[in-house]
Amino acid sequence: MDALRDYASELDAEIHSTDPGGTINFPLMPVGQAVDMGHDATGKPLFDPRVFSSREFFRNPYPYYRILRDHYPVFHDKLHNTYYVTRYEDVWRCYFDDEGFNTIPKGSSSGVLGNTQLELSGVEHRRRRNLYGQHLVGRGLDLRVPSIQRLARDMIKDWDNQLDTPWVIDEGKKRIVELGAAFANEFPVRVVCEVLGFPNEAREQFFYWYNSMMSGLGGSLTHKQGLEARQSLEDYVQDIVEERRRKPSFLKDEDGKIIGKDIITKLCETKVDGDYLSTEEITSNIALIVAAGGETTRGAIINMWYLLLQHPDQFAALCANPGETWDRAFHETLRHSSPIGGQPRHNTFDVDMHGMHVPAGSLMQMVDFSANHDDRVFKDPEKFDIFRDDLYSGKLLRSGFMKEGRCAHMAFGVGPHLCPGAWISHQEAVEGSKILQKTLKNMRLCTERQPKDIDGESLAPVGIVRVPQLWLEYDRA
């Protein structure tokens, strides 16, 4: 019909659009630059939520978070039914408001791991968190440091026996190692295994549980393996729990002196509301410790070494004055390239933030990645600088740190849900790295083997979570 000719033309254009309407391949951009997703009439950049599932975003997330922080501090992603909170101060406030932004109901991990304190709030959360959290801090943790160091030394020493593997290669006077496979993937899990009080013979099984449960999270295609691993862990733990209920087990230092009960024994002796914890509850807590303890520390170690070795001047300064400089390196790594993206919250009440009305019960994703790169808080946030003066790198505090011109990073969250494993993760990464630095002479990146970025020359960025491989070389003694 003539009167509607222009309308028909617009429909034709829509019908023959090259955008298929679902996921699309975003072009890969130079690191630090975002794809142009269009602009509104005022020049404000638009944001296409499909980018979240793109390869481009996974390798180069920070320019996209910058758009969100600067233009959509609370972004409603209607495609994924999620609100993203991206500015440091907002994330901070939400984390502290345990009542307004609760952890109920359920993250995707709970289906596989079981009910843990991650999904609880208030008093119930505090009680359960403290059940095992108390063993991962303070004197309880200090006593465990020697065994962490011993495990690191043992693993490095064992490389001599792994020359038939693809990740340890001797080339004349130098040795090439893929740090993930040779150390970082396994080291935190070994520590967790020991701290929990698992027998040594269960270690191999432990890796199966860990890997399967992690890959089975979130209703993925490996969901079944995750659930089977969780059941297998429960079956195994059941026997241990019954044994520990009858006969407590103790951790000992290198001299054989008892330094305390292992965590499973402690959990077996714990009562909540007058009841002992069920095997189910104990298993869930163990599953959480296994999952959280492994992934975060693995990423922290790999990312820290990757970034340090790309900044030889900073690495040299660190070697010259190790001590607290390792703490700085650890915290700056977690600020710059955290292995943990953020935490989900659900708003208990309707809230209005930055002009966005968020109905009660909405999923609000607190984006730690983005908060850590907020230039309202950290100068030149894309720069890795272990000596930056605006980052707090002292002891991690549940109350957070935001004073004297310095702020704590958000990688472990802050407030009531601050990761209870933050301190042990710090000790593992720092103590393990100190031993690596002392043991391996003239350590450097093996750039020929290291994955490259899209230009085929520069090294691949860390991107989301962690760099997939880290090839090192060092001089053999």
Partner: protein, 438 residues
């Protein structure tokens, strides 16, 4: 013989209601309630589908493939990627659709983030009357106008009939003259598309809403007063231009546009069935009902849990989003025989408007989200017009009957294979290209 259940004082707790009950989980065995709801067990895994498939380009073009996996394996699928629950079996879908106590809809303005923009006046009687009179009065006339405008011998039914017919009717209702019809239609469609997730569409939609308000503002001051004018009815209620635009936006034309395309596609790919439908207006009505069942123009509707509620073995959190799929439910083999086939004279489907439920005459109804849930009135009340369900059905049947009678030699262009798809995820699921000869 089993030991008697202990009733020692230590084993009892006094509940809030003063009743003594055995302590749960005594001795470290058993589960607390929240654990049972939350933990997934071996056998409950959902590895046959990944949530990302449900937001993919493949889903936009062929959603049924993924929906069948859900319907036949995971009656209530917790989709972590898209943060929602998918409901796909017929009885489950209808149970949520009729459950306003636990689940709520949200307006299109809410999706825009413009909740205070204007009022949706579709429930006002003068508006309803004008709407129904316009549809009854112009259903046949406007179909003829379009048919007379076809190029001789061939046209694209999807673009030149299905997509334009609802616009002509809306033009009548809102007093848009022919000369202004195209810019009105473009803005109106942009406003509809902007409801969803696409950023460019959202911006274009917001602009279109503003432009429509500016367009209707002066018109509202001098309406015709005709009893077929929704604009006049809104003016009579003291409504503003923003109310006019809001009413238009919330009403939309998705079902009318989409089902015309889908009905005609299904008819034209089955010439033998079409030949029978062409002979009998009642057969056209039944074919329409079957098209609504087989190829509903809206794949899923969204409902939000008003509070935490346990359904389908899952604990749905307060605010939880349910994506309930008409497409999957309408082809549920538990309900319909040979459910994947379009059978123009299907007999296991309700031919009357269902009232207060989704079954009448003991037969299930094809679910059609776009027109709301079935009317709760046991019969048409004297003071109200027919339901939107009945109006849409009668209008589509009238338009289609007019087309079938006007062009008796109508046939699909040789060699062309039509498909039903969404241009973007969440948008109308219809046949966008249907070239025909006549």
């Amino acid at each position: 013989m089993n030991a008697p259940v202990s009733r020692d004082a230590d084993d009892l707790v006094i509940g809030d209601n003063g009743v003594a009950v055995p302590r749960f989980n005594h001795g470290g065995t058993g589960y607390r309630t929240y654990e049972v709801h939350q933990r997934e067990r071996v056998g409950e895994s959902t590895e046959k589908i990944n949530g990302s498939e449900l937001a993919s380009a493949g889903y936009a073009t062929d959603p049924y493939k993924s929906l069948v996996i859900l319907r036949e394996n995971y009656a209530c699928f917790r989709d972590w990627i898209n943060n929602c629950y998918w409901i796909t079996q017929y009885n489950d879908v209808t149970s949520i659709f009729a459950d306003e106590a636990n689940f709520e809809t949200r307006s299109k303005l809410w999706y825009y983030g413009l909740s205070g923009f204007g009022r949706d006046l579709r429930q006002e009687l003068p508006v309803l009357w004008a709407w129904s009179k316009a549809m009854d009065t112009f259903a046949e006339t406007d179909a003829r106008r379009l048919i007379e405008g076809f190029r001789k011998g061939s046209t694209d039914l999807a673009r030149d009939f299905a997509a334009q017919y609802p616009i002509l009717l809306l033009g009548r209702m809102f007093e848009v003259p022919d000369a202004e019809l195209a810019p009105f239609a473009i803005r109106y469609r942009r406003a509809q598309r902007g409801v969803l997730w696409h950023p460019t569409a959202q911006e274009a939609g917001k602009d279109a809403l503003r432009e429509l308000v500016a367009y209707f503002d002066p018109k509202l001051q001098k309406t015709s007063g005709a009893d077929t004018s929704v604009l006049a009815a809104i003016a009579g209620l003291g409504g503003t231009a923003a109310d006019v635009v809001t009413t238009l936006l919330e009403a939309d034309h998705e079902t009318l546009h989409g089902i015309l395309g889908n009905l005609w596609m299904n008819l034209l790919v089955q010439p033998a069935s079409y030949a029978k439908v062409q002979q009998d207006r009642l057969a056209m009505k039944i074919a329409y009902l079957e098209a609504m069942r087989h190829s509903p123009p809206v794949i899923t509707a969204e409902r939000f849990a008003r509070h935490e509620v346990e359904r389908f073995g899952k604990l749905i959190p307060d605010g939880g989003l349910m994506r309930i799929s008409a497409l999957a439910a309408n082809r549920d083999p538990r309900i319909f025989d040979d459910a994947d086939s379009f059978i123009a004279n299907r007999i296991d489907i309700c031919h009357r408007e269902a009232r207060g439920h989704f079954r009448a005459d003991g037969l299930p109804q094809g679910i059609a989200f776009g027109m709301g849930q079935p009317t709760k009135h046991p019969a048409v009340p004297e003071d109200r017009p027919r339901s939107m369900y009945a109006l849409t059905r009668d209008t589509v049947v009238t338009a289609s009957w007019t087309l079938a009678q006007s062009l008796p030699e109508l046939r699909l262009k040789a060699g062309f294979t039509p498909v039903i798809r969404c241009l973007r995820i969440g948008e109308t699921f219809t046949c966008w290209e249907l070239p025909v000869d006549f």
